[in-house]
């Protein structure tokens, strides 16, 4: 953090609420093995579809499994895939976007036209192609999310590098004989880090939404491994009699994604107060 960005972030109420929501969901996932009140897979026919109460805070599902414990375990799947996909997507997006912004001309044209093509296929349809061809697995889920989210990241990084490229310190570095790798890595990308971090927070939310959508369709994490998406789809059939089975895992997705979005907004305002309230 620089120029009091941390202080501004700490004074940003919505950003802090977002950070808090994310922290709670992260803690739930990390602590699930020790803190979850029940196992995520232990079934009990006598405890089927119990409403939320003292023994089961969020009730039980159609197999008598504790919904709270499964929501906690489910956050591991969502967050792991979210982080893995975002990291991958940012690496690809940063390298390609940085190269496009720095080298310009042909490189820029090639990268940006490819990004346009990727952006013109609706993400979920493209995801379906990849899952059909390569199968559903956690690794493939992360890869496919990266495949459909690198393009916006590349655009953002490119725009930042384009703006930085013309600045005096970059001209000075070039005059001093710095090579492409040094200028791009040290002077452009390092200065683009705040933008990349903001992008990361917003992308995490997107990645988690796509992951949950895929597991809702039955193409993400496979049962009995609980993921929020497949818990919602299991709860769908009991909607009339046991709303809590579908409601709570969905609420977990919503809170997590909202948290990342709020935190991302907070980060953007903290890094660049001039942008506050814009867009």
């Amino acid at each position: 953090m620089r120029d009091g960005a941390l202080a501004r972030l700490l004074g940003h109420r919505r950003g802090l609420i977002g950070a808090g929501a994310v922290a709670v969901m992260l803690a739930a996932g990390v602590l699930a093995p020790v803190a979850a009140p029940y196992s995520y897979s232990s079934q009990s026919l006598t405890q089927r579809l119990r409403p939320p109460g003292r023994a089961h805070w969020l009730g039980t599902d159609g197999f008598g499994r504790d919904v709270l414990s499964r929501v906690m375990w489910g956050s591991r799947v969502s967050l792991q895939i979210g982080f893995a996909a975002t990291a991958l997507s940012l690496v690809v997006g940063t390298v390609l976007g940085g190269a496009a912004g720095y080298f310009g001309r042909g490189t820029d044209q090639a990268v940006m036209r490819a990004a346009d093509a990727f952006l013109s296929v609706p993400a979920l349809f493209l995801v379906l192609v990849v899952v059909a061809l390569f199968g559903a697995s956690l690794l493939n889920t992360a890869l496919v999310i990266a495949l459909v989210t690198w393009a916006p990241a590349a655009r953002v990084v490119r725009a930042e590098c384009l703006a930085l490229r013309a600045r005096d310190f970059v001209q000075a570095a070039r005059a001093l004989g710095a090579g492409h790798a040094r200028i791009l890595g040290r002077h452009l990308l390092l200065n683009a880090v705040p933008v990349i971090i903001v992008q990361a927070s917003l992308m995490l939310g997107q990645a988690i939404l796509i992951e949950s959508g895929l597991s809702y369709l039955g193409l993400g994490a496979q049962p009995p491994l609980p993921s929020w998406g497949n818990m919602v789809v299991e709860g769908r059939q009991f909607l009339a009699s046991a709303w809590w089975v579908a409601a709570f895992p969905g609420l977990a997705i919503f809170v997590t994604v909202l948290g990342f979005n709020l935190f991302g907004d907070g980060l953007r305002d903290a890094f660049d107060p001039a942008l506050r309230g814009a867009a």
């Binding site: 349809f125 390569f134 939310g205 949950s212 009339a240 919503f254």
Partner: protein, 319 residues
């Protein structure tokens, strides 16, 4: 006028280029698939000799560029192959499902614009008030809701708790021509997709109207004593809507992509459900075909948005 014509030509060329790009993405994915393109194009198990025969018959032993051109030109001529599962031409399967998807996405977009633009205006004009807070809450929630869950919660509220609306399907069985029945079935899916879509439009209307309200011509309009409402609606909003049209165009892929989940939740017989079903059947030609068609629809819609833009804004420079 020549300016406009060359702009239109360039824009058309760009759209065609995008479609080629999408087909290249799909073609490359097909080449990378385990078992190679013959597995994708034929499906099922086959012996080594059979594989060689198939390769020769399909021309898979020819150079890869030739293969791409053959595949793509067949697609251009409407030949998207046959479904592994049913043997039906993929083009016909898609034609049957395109209507419901266009109806759903069109209605959702209409709903989103009709609700989001006034909300965005309110948020901008009453900046810093409850309306503004409400507006930003709506747009933030919109981008954070998992659409499938929103759909299920709407079913819970409006079909289970209060049995007003049917939870799924396009119409009651045997009453497909009944307009009232069709509208009732369309309400929840449209709301689901529309509420999510609203967020981007609202956010953008607000920020671009705020920008417009800072312009000199708005100050002039105020200075000459025009009523506030007239300044906002007649002067500022008309200019603010130009970027909003762009954002609608840019968010089309999200809208159409959202149809995959919405159609699944509501058993809506559109392209999304066709594609999801095909994934489970490993019905590759159907998945490939749906993607090509969906991309073509999005690219065409984007082209139309851009053209609308040139009509709305006479100052546009054709760069």
């Amino acid at each position: 006028m020549t300016d406009l014509r060359s702009y239109l030509l360039r824009r058309l060329g760009f759209a065609a280029l995008m479609l080629v790009g999408v087909s290249l993405i799909l073609f490359v994915l097909m080449q990378l698939a385990p078992g190679g393109p013959e597995a994708v194009l034929i499906g099922g198990e086959f012996s080594a000799e059979a594989a060689a025969q198939i390769r020769a018959r399909l021309g898979l032993d020819r150079p890869i560029a030739v293969q791409y051109v053959t595949w793509a030109s067949a697609a251009v001529h409407g030949d998207l192959g046959r479904s592994f599962k049913t043997g039906d031409p993929v083009a016909r399967l898609i034609a049957d499902r395109l209507g419901p998807t266009l109806q759903l996405t069109g209605a959702a977009l209409l709903f989103a614009v009709v609700v989001a633009v006034p909300l965005g205006v309110l948020a901008a004009v009453r900046r810093g008030t409850t309306w503004d807070t409400l507006g930003s809450a709506v747009s933030l929630f919109g981008v954070s809701f998992p659409s499938f869950w929103l759909g299920i919660m709407l079913i819970l509220l409006f079909s289970e708790a209060v049995p007003w609306l049917p939870p799924s399907g396009l119409a009651e069985y045997g009453r497909e021509s009944d307009v009232v029945s069709r509208v009732r079935h369309a309400i929840l899916p449209t709301l689901t997709l529309g509420l999510i879509q609203m967020a981007a439009v609202m956010r953008f209307t607000r920020s671009s109207l705020l920008e417009a309200l800072r312009q000199d011509y708005v100050r002039t309009a105020r200075a000459k004593g025009l009523a506030d409402a007239r300044v906002v609606w007649r002067h500022a909003l008309r200019n603010a809507l130009i970027p909003v049209v762009t954002v609608i165009g840019l968010s089309l892929p999200t809208l159409v992509g959202g149809a995959v989940l919405t159609e699944t939740v509501f058993a809506w017989p559109g392209l999304g459900r066709l594609a999801v079903g095909a994934v489970f059947e490993r019905d590759y030609p159907v998945i490939m075909g749906v993607n090509l068609v969906v991309a073509a629809v999005v690219i065409t819609a984007n082209l139309l948005t851009d053209l609308a833009y040139t009509v709305i804004d006479p100052r546009i420079s054709y760069q």
